[in-house]
Symmetry: C2
Subunit: 227 residues, 2 copies
């Protein structure tokens, strides 16, 4: 699997790649991750497009985290499912849209400076240009104080917080793909920044701790570009 | 079923009661609705609390829309299910929290003046006092221009809009309880106000039209306190 890496190749911070890392561990499937940078389009040209994650499984190449999850469920039906039933599919898809459309913005506002510093120097011009075009402003203008970002994120997390008061994981008693979609956004921030945007008493904080502990601490052990 | 009614007893505008009306129709169960006002606490004292919906099914009394949905699925297993599986339960619960925590606020900002006018005169002091306490301001201060409310609602709908580009209903190919939770918020506004907060080209608009058409136009035919 090609996995977005920072200036330190051990630092992996793509929310979409984290969805897949967790999904593979969920299924008990081993994976070799290949560090990849935003500008290394040639290295993944074999996938027919230019974004990670790209998963190669034997002779099969699949890109896009959602397509990979569907591929894994279909290809390994004897392993624990990531998405169950039509309502489960809707849960996972609603959660991924919520993560990327609603949560990513306040998260990025809090950590964009740290994120820029953690990116490989060769990727920085690409990152700045593409993100400033998307945001319509300079990265430095987009950044806000950690307290302000935490407050905005806290409001945005309201429906998930209410759900996590009822059950330990987004999916219910056990985590599955909806959890990994949500968790990816948190791993994006964690990989590059020491800024804490979630209050210790927030049920989302306890959920994140449970997620960090999964699969023998897979996510917790992942190197960070902080300090 | 006791169902919140306006000054005109035919006007029913509780988002929680609409969840149950749609759920009962989904199951093909007939219901007699009894108009109820906020201040008629005595009329539902038999349920042990003071809020609607309250459903009486034979000798069984159930209150709270979520508890009613679970009761119906358990009691009528041969009818079409409202919530399927653990991931489906999470979808429905996440959607209800999203509807009441995220969508209800911009919706109310757009229609609160109309809502207040549609409420039974005897309920108006109760409504004003309880809502102004909750909002921390006068109803008149909370109201914003329809265009501003539509813009805020449009942003809040982003994850649902993305989901509805993939499939016709929140639940997938067919509607179920998550759809009814979301739809309740729209019926709340529709019952009391002619203000249109959703653009005609928004996929959410087309979804709402499909919901209004369900069950032989049950929701579309419901009287409104408008014009």
């Amino acid at each position: 699997m090609h996995d977005l890496a920072g200036a330190d190749p051990a630092v992996r911070f793509s929310p979409y790649c984290w969805r897949v890392r967790m999904a593979l561990a969920h299924m008990g499937l081993d994976v070799e991750t290949i560090p990849w940078r935003f500008t290394e389009k040639d290295a993944i040209a074999f996938s027919g497009q230019g974004l990670v994650p790209v998963l190669r499984d034997g002779d099969t190449v699949v890109h896009d985290s959602w397509a990979i999850a569907e591929y894994l469920d279909k290809t390994y039906p004897d392993r624990p499912a990531l998405i169950e039933g039509e309502q489960g599919r809707a849960l996972a898809s609603l959660t991924r849209h919520y993560a990327q459309n609603v949560l990513a913005t306040p998260m990025l506002k809090g950590v964009v400076g740290d994120l820029f510093k953690a990116i490989a120097p060769g990727d920085q011009p690409y990152f700045r240009e593409s993100r400033e075009k998307r945001l319509g402003m300079k990265l430095e203008q987009f950044q806000i104080a950690p307290e302000a970002a935490a407050a905005q994120l806290g409001v945005a997390l309201s429906p998930v917080r209410a759900l996590l008061k009822e059950q330990p994981f987004v999916n219910g008693r056990r985590p599955a793909f909806a959890d990994y979609c949500l968790f990816g956004v948190f791993m994006w921030a964690r990989g590059v920044s020491a800024v804490e945007l979630i209050a210790a008493e927030d049920p989302v904080h306890a959920w994140r701790e449970r997620m960090l502990d999964l699969f023998d601490g897979l996510a917790r052990k992942s190197p960070r570009a902080v300090g």
